[in-house]
């Protein structure tokens, strides 16, 4: 088992009802992704308005329309239990494509930041 590191990538959401697509690149020495979690500077915005599509190495992990809230955890949850378990060892080109969509929800829109964290393993 190699060393564990956590990687965070952000998408800023300045306008409502918009789709944002970004491709992030993991470090070359990362050999596996063990989990992921979603967070924000305004949790309620992502919880009620966020949809996510995620690709790792061109393989679709979450399809279009997947609710970002399902990957969030509250503050009372133990840090070890906040990650959605994902055993992904075939990282290929180490590229992660994130499509984040803000849609109408129960809360009124205000600009926010969507963050996604990956629990990664690096080569010793």
């Amino acid at each position: 088992m190699g060393k564990r590191v956590y990687k965070r990538f952000d998408i800023n959401v300045p306008t409502a009802l918009t789709k944002y697509t970004q491709t992030f690149e993991l470090d070359a020495d990362i050999v596996a992704i063990h989990g992921l979690m979603v967070n924000s500077n305004q949790d309620d915005q992502v919880y009620y308005r966020g949809l996510l599509r995620l690709e790792i190495n061109r393989e679709e992990i979450f399809p279009e329309g997947f609710q970002a809230k399902l990957l969030m955890a509250g503050m009372a949850v133990s840090p070890n239990d906040r990650f959605y378990r994902l055993q992904k060892e075939d990282l290929g080109d180490h590229r992660i494509k994130v499509e984040y969509t803000d849609e109408a929800g129960l809360v009124v829109f205000s600009a926010y930041r969507f963050s996604i964290y990956f629990d990664c393993e690096i080569k010793e």
């Binding site: 309620d44 009620y48 609710q67 009372a76 949850v77 959605y84 109408a104 929800g105």
Partner: protein, 197 residues
């Protein structure tokens, strides 16, 4: 074997609504491995905070859902759907939205709630002989009867199915294929196109 997620969204607009729906899986589906049903209130208008607040000692049940593989008759999944995000609201008069926030027994909770956890789908092992999954949902919003006044119920349900696909089985792309269906380019058609060029 490769696992993929398929999503179907239901819009519930009024109390006691019953919806029948179908989900079409790709032809190379071998089995359904997990299922998850997610509830979320929806609104097109700005909620006006400060509306009625009720305290509940248990999670609020909103309906009942059933899923079966077409032709088998027996449901492989049947469950009571609850407001897992601890939030619902109602309309007390046309055009005015009042949030009805339902808190756990502990009282005021961090919004949307400090205890909510990451997705944990319900594990299944359902061999798929037919790529059509039939489902039904019955709204059972008991809250409506408790309030005892005309209300609307607006929420979404998302049904998530995890399916195991046979990667060795090539799927021909047709107009009838669902948009999220696994598509593989037919090598034969590529060869024909290359020869023609």
């Amino acid at each position: 074997m490769k696992e993929r997620i398929f999503i179907h969204t239901l819009d519930i607009d009024w109390p006691k609504q019953r919806i029948a729906f179908q989900m079409k899986l790709p032809p190379n589906t071998k089995r359904i491995t997990k299922v998850f049903v997610s509830f979320i209130g929806r609104s097109e208008e700005k909620p006006l905070w400060g509306g009625s607040f009720l305290n509940y000692s248990r999670a609020l049940m909103v309906g009942e859902i059933g899923l079966s593989v077409a032709g088998t008759g027996n449901p492989f999944f049947r469950d009571l759907v609850q407001t897992t995000d601890q939030n619902a609201y109602y309309l007390d008069s046309p055009g005015r939205v009042l949030p009805l926030r339902v808190f756990p027994e502990s009282g005021l909770a961090y919004f949307p709630g400090p205890q909510f956890k990451v997705l944990k789908p319900y594990p299944l092992n359902v061999p798929v002989a037919n790529i059509l999954v039939e489902g039904w949902f019955q709204d059972l919003f008991y809250l409506v009867e408790m309030i005892d006044q005309p209300v609307d119920v607006l929420y979404n349900l998302k049904v998530y199915l995890w399916a195991e696909l046979d990667e060795n089985m090539h799927v021909k792309k047709t107009e009838d294929s669902p948009p999220d269906c696994e598509q593989k380019v037919e090598i034969n058609s590529l060869i024909v196109a290359a020869v023609q060029n």
